[in-house]
Amino acid sequence: MIGKLGLYLQYPFVRYALIVGVLIALCSSLLGVTLVLKRFSFIGDGLSHVAFGAMSVAAVMNLTDETLLVLPVTILSAVLLLRGGKRAKIRGDAAIAMISVSALAFGYLIMNVFSTSTNLSGDVCTTLFGSTSILTLTKQDVVLCIVLSLVVITVYVLFYHQIFAVTFDESFAASEGIRTETINLVIAVITAVIIVLAMNLVGSLLISALVIFPALSAMRLFRSFRSVTVFSAVLSVICAFSGMIVSILAGTPVGSTIVAVDVLAFALCSAAGRFGGVHL
């Protein structure tokens, strides 16, 4: 088995997939803690459907670099959802559901009506479940992913305390002079960037799992914001890495294997939390 793994690791596309997978898992789990606590667990789902819609448009328009269209559209939707949340007429979960299903429907519709591909259902399936796209990354994709991940991690570390304050108590944060609108904007933008990156890995239907499971698992065990954040990042990386190895060896789809490992980790953490949690 080790030999088989060694053989696969000689291929650059397998190495690319592992690098990208680990980075995406790390980034998504960082934001996950905040999103879960802000009661925005489903934002990942909503945004990824928007990204799917944008991707269909990009495919139909025959754009060479889909990200150029998908990223701005997703960022815009994230900003509208997370920022407008308070004043909007349709709020929170309803707004997310509305945007998510309509983007999904229009995306599929556009793909069907204007399709240029011969294997339509294969294309759709890939976008929804990310089945093979992680293994077809070009060197350019990998570089883009590394750069964006580093940006996300840097921004998160620099704004860590403000993100905590805004997540824990937005009115207090505003009263002491933190620019809560700006911090919410930062959260929205990096959420969107992560979603677009993660679409390559698990596809748009399974992204929420990557965002919420590590955070939820960490919250079963740990009790301070910092330990929850650190543990969820570590756990997410471990799950993504082992999920990818399993999928390579067993020939299972990458995205769903990673999510299955995340679910398993959550079950273990819940059990461990019940029998005496760590009080850190």
Partner: protein, 235 residues
């Protein structure tokens, strides 16, 4: 010069007036209680004082060199905080974030300040515990320590004792009284008219009639007598 001078303030949402004609001032060392029925605009007034919301009309002036972010705030607890994984120290330290715009790390002074305020609120021994594991009274003291880190001249408290049992309520009131005696100006929203009359130096009553004055004058006024009597009956 007063710390806070409010002139002819009208409050509301989207042009809908809730309450108008508010004129009052707060001086250093005052203990002002804001009383009135639900929906009379108490919380809206507080948010306006903290500049979280704009008034419909009227002015709020700060005097004696008081800056807007030198007003410490104890908001009502939100649903999100009930199961939030955060240590007491993390929460209290977040009160230090208002001092500088860009703030990736806490300085040694800020950590010392947080320790000092935790000690003052008698929660230093809980510093590494998670806030969701504490009792209601302990949580309020932690949030008071956070407010004191942000500002120790003026404290604005929104229903600080709601949901607490009578003994803990009494303890918290005593603690707030001690802070006030130590020179901190207190502005408190309260449902509890008895406590307002016991601890406050000034009363602002908002509702159909608006009253502002010292506690003694309030008790002599028609509004005050009626409200105090009804507050007594409700219990």
């Amino acid at each position: 010069m007063a710390l806070i001078t409010v002139k002819d303030l009208a409050l509301g949402y989207e042009g809908q007036k809730i309450v108008g004609g508010l004129t009052f001032e707060v001086r250093t060392g005052d203990y002002l209680c804001i009383v009135g029925e639900n929906g009379s605009g108490k919380t809206t007034l507080m948010k306006t004082l903290l500049k979280l919301q704009d008034p419909l009309s009227g002015t709020i002036e700060l005097g004696d060199g008081l800056l807007r972010n030198e007003i410490g705030y104890l908001p009502q607890q939100t649903l999100v905080q009930k199961d939030f994984p955060a240590s007491v120290r993390e929460v209290v330290l977040s009160g230090c974030l208002g001092k500088g715009g860009f703030h990736p790390f806490y300085t040694r002074e800020e950590k010392a300040l947080a320790d000092k305020q935790m000690e003052r609120m008698e929660v230093l021994d809980l510093a590494d515990r998670s806030i969701r594991d504490l009792s209601g009274g302990q949580q309020q003291r932690v949030l008071l320590a956070r407010a004191l880190c942000a500002a120790d001249k003026v404290l604005v408290l929104d229903e600080p004792v709601s949901g607490l049992d009578p003994r803990v309520t009494e303890e918290l009131y005593t603690l707030i009284e001690k802070l006030n005696k130590g020179g901190i100006t207190v502005i408190m929203i309260s449902h509890d008219i008895d406590a307002a009359l016991k601890y406050a130096s000034h009363i602002l009553h908002i509702g159909k009639t608006v009253f502002f004055g010292t506690k003694e004058d309030y008790l002599k006024s028609e509004t005050g007598r009626q409200y105090a009597a009804r507050g007594g009956e409700e219990r």
